[in-house]
Amino acid sequence: MIKRCAGPVFEEVWHAQLFAVTVHLNEGGHFKWQDWVANFGEMLQARGLNHSQNGGHDYFVAWLDALENFLSQKGIAQLNDLRDLRIAWQDAYLSTPHGDPIIVE
């Protein structure tokens, strides 16, 4: 059965952020939407071979994986830089006192 439920446009904040980053880069002329869709489609197909994607959380995780690889292939964002910044964000969360803004400049 196809699971249907009404919900917000974006279920989580990071889904919206990821969507906006992709649209913004496309509109900045950094890639063609068709090229992005082809890459994302391949990722979804590959993921779908292992288990059925529900169109929610796993859809956006596939989007994130595809976008990181796509931007790396295009020389826009290197994977090691992304890994370093991910660690920096994690450290910032763990070390920032509660109530203070969490910042990675």
Binding site: A20, V21, A38
Partner: protein
């Protein structure tokens, strides 16, 4: 209590998910490179959360029901015709409209990912993006329609249209009986998102 322990106790103890941290990292890197800016990101999110949605498509359908000349133009060149109403932009570069009739029921899917006419319907619902819908809408459309509660009483042919990055579809559902003489505004209120994808039939209005 030692100072370090105090800091530890008051630090943000709930770490965001791996995906959230990775999206933060991506944003930070792209902002550092000057490729994106946070105000533009906020504006994009605001548009799709608050300003664009199925109501736009509903207005187009209501107008098509009310104005035969508009409907003819919509079927001939939907992109240009909906642009006249102010509906254009991202993912609306080439829109094709499909009319449901007593003999044809149209159903839209994107088998590749989730291509969708954003200016008219907003962001697609989760089920439209699911593997189950994307795969089965083509393979067994009548079964999928039945799961959505759609019963084709006239034995209509089902036509499934696969959206792409280049072509997006808008279904013009059949105007329900009981709506004769209604204003466009009143008609707009009864057109649902799913009816414009083809996964719903509009009920008879009382």
């Amino acid at each position: 209590m030692p100072h370090d322990d105090l800091n530890q106790a008051h630090a943000h103890s709930v770490l965001p998910s791996d995906a959230e941290l990775r999206v933060n990292a991506l944003e930070t890197l792209l902002i550092r490179k000057g490729l994106i800016d946070s105000e533009a990101l906020d504006a994009i999110i605001d548009i799709y959360e608050n300003k664009i949605g199925p109501k736009n498509g509903a207005r187009v359908v209501a107008k098509a029901w009310s104005d035969p000349v508009f409907k003819a133009r919509l079927l001939e060149d939907a992109t240009a015709t909906v642009a006249e109403l102010g509906f254009y932009g991202r993912q609306g570069e080439h829109i094709v409209s499909l009319e449901n009739t007593d003999s044809i029921h149209n159903l839209v899917v994107c088998t590749l990912c989730s291509c969708y006419p954003w200016p008219l319907l907003g962001i697609p619902p989760g089920w439209y993006k699911s593997d189950a819908y994307r795969a089965r809408a083509v393979r067994e459309p009548r079964k999928v329609l039945a799961e959505f509660g759609v019963v084709l009483e006239n034995g209509e042919d089902v036509r499934v249209w696969d959206s792409t990055a280049e072509i997006r579809y808008l279904v013009i559902p059949k105007r329900p009986p009981g709506t004769e003489g209604w204003s466009e505004d009143a008609l707009t209120e009864i057109v649902t998102r799913d009816s414009m994808i083809g996964t719903a039939i509009l009920p008879v209005s009382e």
